[in-house]
């Protein structure tokens, strides 16, 4: 029983991180109909910015709540800025070109980032894994028999839930959210109705990137090591989660992500563990074959 509980905790912990990244994917896909391949790498950038920030603080400062907040906020700001630049200079010029062009651009950015960060010239960190400095001093929070729930896990979970709730509120209860949804529906008509589509899209990108930054920090706190390639696999899995939930659907992305995290954990824990990477893809293929619109998506048939 405690084994099951431990697996549950592990799966949820991984799932919440996928969720934060999946939200970015789903939002950007919603407004631009583009899979931002580089989104996972934005998470990686966030982790490294957080690393640099945390390192620049003295040990007793970085473990205080203010320190943690600072690390997270700096990473969010940096990634939001990065997301804005990406959208403005790489995607906006291609908005009316065939989708394939944007897809190739996204792949190019992803590659440039993940392999560029592996160089160790100048500010670039190099390929070797780095140990993220401790920003939350580990203390047991709850003990259920054999299983320990750590304060770091609770804090991560709390931050993720708060952000997801905040996003939900933003998308469904504010004017900006309505504008976002209008642009997702049809960006040309939304423009004609007076919505500043460029601004909405830019802000959506920034928002998604900021969430990815938080995901990067939480990931680094959970698994300690950060490498330039960490974004690739998390990104792909988060994308799978977004598809499972129904791409473009915000709560769907969260459910899909948690589900994926749990499935991965239980499959690896109870069966042959070296197939971990294949689980996510297998799940994706099954979903696309049998229910391509995802769990919560609407069946949008292409009208001729």
């Amino acid at each position: 029983m405690s084994v099951f509980l431990q697996h549950l905790i592990n799966g949820l912990a991984a799932g919440t991180i996928y969720a934060l990244v999946a939200l970015g994917y789903t939002m950007v896909y919603g407004v631009l109909k583009l899979i931002n391949f580089a989104h996972g790498d934005v998470m990686m950038v966030g982790a490294y910015v957080g690393y640099a920030t945390a390192f620049s603080l003295a040990p007793h400062v970085r473990t205080s709540s203010l320190g943690v907040l600072l690390v997270i906020l700096v990473a969010m700001a940096a990634c939001a800025a990065f997301g804005f630049l990406m959208e403005r200079f790489a995607y906006r010029p291609l908005r009316d070109k065939p989708r394939l062009t944007s897809l190739i651009t996204a792949i190019g950015i992803s590659f440039a980032l993940s392999y560029g960060f592996q160089l160790d010239v100048g500010p670039l960190p190099g390929a070797a894994p780095r140990a993220f400095p401790e920003i939350i001093v580990l203390r047991p929070w709850l003990k259920i028999g054999d299983v320990v729930l750590w304060n770091a896990q609770v804090i991560s979970f709390g931050i993720a839930i708060a952000l997801m709730a905040g996003l939900q509120w933003l998308v469904y209860r504010t004017r900006f959210g309505r504008a976002m949804r209008a642009v997702s529906h049809d960006h040309r008509i939304a423009g004609l109705m007076g919505i500043p589509t460029d601004r909405v899209i830019g802000l959506t990108f920034m928002l998604g990137s900021a969430l990815a930054a938080v995901a990067g920090i939480l990931y680094a706190v959970k698994d300690t090591a950060i490498t330039p390639l960490m974004g690739l696999y998390v990104g792909l899995k988060a994308f799978v989660a977004a598809v499972i939930g129904g791409i473009g659907n915000v709560p769907g992305a969260v459910v899909g992500a948690l589900l994926l995290g749990l499935v991965e954990e239980f499959v690896v824990g109870y069966t042959a563990s070296s197939w971990r990477d294949a689980v996510a893809f297998g799940f994706l293929i099954l979903v696309l074959l049998f229910k391509p619109e995802g769990l919560f998506g609407k069946n949008a048939a292409e009208k001729v």
């Binding site: 899979i35 394939l100 897809l103 792949i107």
Partner: protein
């Protein structure tokens, strides 16, 4: 002699014998050339190695172009098919190694088995192409990209976890069978095939699918069937490339067929021009030789050549971005080097 005025062609009807021989003319020219090259480079192992790599990459790029370029379906899992071909061909060769055909000299027998292995490898890869293509090609472009990427990864994980395939170590001690002539032959075949495909009605259907799939479907083109067929042909040649690769590299492991390898080929196809066979060839040759050339240059200038491999990957990424922003059609767009020749020949006929 009066040629009947046929609206679709301005060429006079050729004599029957010439018509029969015409398709084989290129072979008659190319084969002796290949044989000569083979003899001439017998004593320069590194040059041979480099040429073999170039050949394999050209094969991969031209075959991927059939799907990504001509049909406009973005596949990111090409290395997975290469892996299937490599493993299948290698396993067959190693199984047949102790045997030889009766009454035939051992080297010739080895080569016959090698060709058999390549065909088996290619067919296995083609079969995988069918299995992957049938369900996936109904999906939209960006989804297809991720699914093909996923399949490539699944193949890699499968190879890694299967002891029969050598696991993470892969297969070692694959007998050395690849020769320049053999690689040259297959390169020649794939280019010829791609060219004929592009010029044929089948090819025109593929282009129609690429330009506007809904319209093509409305015109009665069975889009899924064509897409799948292109996919299968493409994977077949990727498999052959894998087989050729395995038999001069002597060691193959799952890591050599990962996502990065697929990316390298994608860059070649995009840079050469999505839809241009000659573009893929030029880009593949250039991008294979460039790092080596730089390395030799750096060594000669006593600079640290180690950086080249590191810098190559992010530069490819940047190249893609810059290309899409400034020249999305790549080097040749959808045109070919030989289009110029054709136009001149047609113009001459017009005059005559």
């Amino acid at each position: 002699m009066n040629s009947p005025s046929v609206p679709l062609s301005s060429a006079p009807a050729p004599l029957p014998l010439k018509a029969a021989l015409a398709p084989w003319l290129p072979f008659a020219v190319v084969l002796p050339v290949l044989a000569l090259i083979q003899v001439a480079t017998g004593g320069a192992p590194f040059l041979v190695y480099l040429s073999l790599m170039v050949g394999v990459n050209v094969l991969l790029a031209v075959s991927l172009n059939i799907v990504n370029g001509m049909t406009g379906q973005f596949s990111l899992g090409h290395a997975g098919f290469m892996a299937v071909g490599a493993y299948a061909a290698a396993l067959l060769t190693m199984a047949l190694d102790p045997w030889k055909l009766i009454g035939v000299a051992e080297p010739l027998s080895d080569q016959i088995f090698f060709v058999l292995a390549l065909l088996v490898g290619g067919s296995a890869a083609g079969l995988c192409g069918l299995l992957v293509g049938l369900p996936s090609l109904r999906l939209r472009g960006d989804y297809l990209a991720v699914v093909t990427l996923g399949f490539g990864e699944i193949i890699r994980v499968f190879a890694q976890n299967t002891d029969r395939l050598g696991g993470a170590l892969g297969l070692t001690g694959i007998p050395h069978r690849t020769s320049l002539a053999m690689v040259g032959f297959w390169v020649f075949v794939v280019i010829l095939l791609a060219k004929r495909l592009a010029d044929s009605p089948h090819g025109r259907s593929l282009v129609a699918i690429r330009e506007d799939e809904i319209a093509a479907s409305a015109m009665g083109v069975n889009t899924t069937a064509y897409k799948v067929r292109a996919f299968v042909i493409s994977s077949f040649f990727a498999g052959v490339a894998g087989g050729l690769f395995a038999h001069f590299q002597s060691v193959i492991n799952p890591a050599s067929f990962g996502w990065v390898r697929s990316m390298e080929i994608v860059v070649m196809v995009v840079a050469g021009g999505l839809g241009s066979t000659s573009g893929s060839v030029v880009a593949a040759v250039f991008l294979t030789l460039l790092p080596e050339g730089l390395r030799t240059l750096f060594n000669a200038l006593h600079l640290d050549a180690g950086r080249i491999d590191q810098v190559r990957m992010p530069l490819y990424g940047l190249l893609l971005v810059v290309l899409m922003l400034m020249r999305p059609q790549g080097l040749f767009g959808t045109h070919e080097i030989w289009d110029g020749l054709k136009r001149r020949r047609a113009a001459k006929r017009e005059v005559a």
